[in-house]
Symmetry: C2
Subunit: 338 residues, 2 copies
């Protein structure tokens, strides 16, 4: 992320706060850059900005959108975002592309793919390289959401590629989790794990147009049956499956109505705020665990010993717990001496 850091100039805190509260996109982008930065001084500045802005955050609906590559996430978001801005909402899109952590390629790619939305004065698009991950999501995504809220965005769309751990983290960042799926993938779930379907608050079958309409309807039925078999929400929310076409604009409005229905359902029952509070504690513990983990595995004496212990265990010469204990002893003796 050097390209950001190089252009990021430091300003006094008030510069960021005024700019963001006035909805200035350049200031917003600068503040997100600080939030994504790994430099301790940037992080400190970012935390000070966020602490000041906290009273202005929390008023949006945060929507996580996931699906495998090729499902049409960008196309969906372009059409969905356009609909929302037409209805008068300010829309922020945070896209996370784990495939290109350090190049500008994906960023330009995303911007090109969402051309119209990027040019829309009611929309703000911010691509993040996820080189530095916290639980699979780019470092700073949580902070970026808060900054966008302070800048007055009503709907925050957080887009991730549906691989690995990223969906689990996105579930811990957003109020509503939309899973995009393709029709006609036959017996397979297109690489989407069942655990991901379980987390979805709604599923949308994309590209339900032209020759694909029949297949989409079948897929809808099939996934709806699968959800019926599994679903048993503690919060009385039973995820539905919809079809949509970004090309023809079909289904977009129905999905938005479903999201609004979800929002009132959850708010009426107190689950909306509860989920956000649980998310905040989750992120605190998650950050602590990651730092403890990092501190251990970055210890130079541990790095020296670890591969030997791994070899011993793989060769069956040492028990896993035995190896772990020796490493832990070494670690604690190393840091107390330091």
């Amino acid at each position: 992320m050097k390209q950001y850091r190089r252009t990021a100039r430091r300003h006094p805190i008030q510069y960021y706060i005024d700019g963001i509260l006035n909805g200035n996109r350049i200031t917003l982008s600068q503040a997100i850059t600080l939030a994504e930065s790994q430099l301790p001084s940037d992080q400190q500045l970012s935390e000070s900005i966020l602490t000041e802005l906290l009273p202005h955050t929390g008023k949006s609906i945060r929507i996580g959108i996931t699906g495998v590559p090729g499902v049409g996430k960008s196309t969906f978001i372009e059409a969905f975002g356009a609909l929302l801005t037409q209805e008068g909402y300010k829309v922020a899109v945070l896209t996370i592309d784990p495939s290109s952590p350090k190049t500008k390629g994906s960023i330009l790619g995303d911007k090109t793919r969402m051309e119209k939305l990027a040019a829309n004065p009611m929309a703000y698009i911010r691509p993040s390289a996820s080189g530095n991950t916290l639980g699979g999501v780019a470092a700073g995504t949580k902070e970026s959401i808060l900054l966008c809220e302070a800048a007055g965005y009503d709907v925050i769309l957080v887009e991730t590629v549906g691989v690995g751990q990223s969906e689990i983290s996105i579930r811990e960042l957003t109020d509503f989790f939309l899973l995009l799926m393709l029709a006609g993938a036959g017996d397979e779930l297109q690489g989407i794990k069942k655990g991901i379907m379980e987390m979805a608050d709604t599923i949308a079958i994309t590209k339900a147009d032209g020759d694909n309409i029949t297949a989409s309807k079948l897929a809808k039925k099939s996934y709806q049956n699968a959800l019926h078999l599994f679903a048993q929400s503690e919060q009385d929310w039973y995820p539905k499956v919809f079809t949509c076409s970004a090309l023809e604009g079909n289904g977009m409005h129905t999905i938005w109505k479903e999201i609004l229905r979800f929002e009132s359902h959850m708010k009426e029952r107190g689950y909306f705020q509860q989920r956000r509070k649980e998310q905040d504690l989750y992120w605190m513990h998650q950050y602590i665990n990651e730092q403890l983990h990092k501190h251990f595995y970055q210890d130079t004496s541990i790095q020296k010993m670890l591969s030997i212990k791994k070899d011993n265990i793989l060769n069956g010469e040492e028990l896993p717990i035995q190896g772990a204990k020796v490493l832990l002893e070494q670690y604690f003796s190393s840091i107390t001496k330091a």
Copy 2:
């Protein structure tokens, strides 16, 4: 687990090694008690025993069996174990009951439920209270498996109640994961999460007898469809659904044949040993993470600060990462001073 510790007498290492290699059940039980003990001196002795026995381990097939309470796990294991011993296999059953961590209740309960198998000279049953968990499984389960193998058991059945994290750990302990399910539970998955079904190598619908036969066949079809929709194994293994009746003995042999088919399938492709090696490294890292976590949260200064930080975060006065950073600074300053 005081009742164990009180009766556990220490013997020289050779006593345990000779006894176990001779298949002495009393010595085996004593060694498992040491492996489950939280006393550092017991743990040291246990590690020495296991290190000596390592060359004699690894030759069994380790089968994890899970299902919700009421699915008939004990009845299934009683019938399944009887079949295996008739075929000439020595069978060890390790049962983990998280519901009664400290009483002997569950232990006596299990023993009574598996009366016939307990009296079978070819079978060994060891109930463990899971008061001290490592990733949801009783501390020492991994070690117990190795000890049973050294004692000459050909098949190790590890039984857990299907709740929470226990299935995930059982997947990391065993070669084959059998999920027991009930028919006639309608639209719901009997509290079994989708992620658990995803881990299953085979599903068996229990109690497929009498009035329940039609419902069992329907359930089989329904779960098989759900698995078809999801399954896409990297190892070319597509889990099947079977019906069985412990009462009438139906289906047990088919399930065992499927397990043997799985074993050769995995061994031919090299996945069998690979899974075991990955499991060993998993347990090493898991143990390290748990200890780091424990060390942090048991720190007295952290305990004092944590609830304040939690309140601040829940009231929106502090950012999760900010709170985490203050706690981490406190922790590292506290342990380096100690």
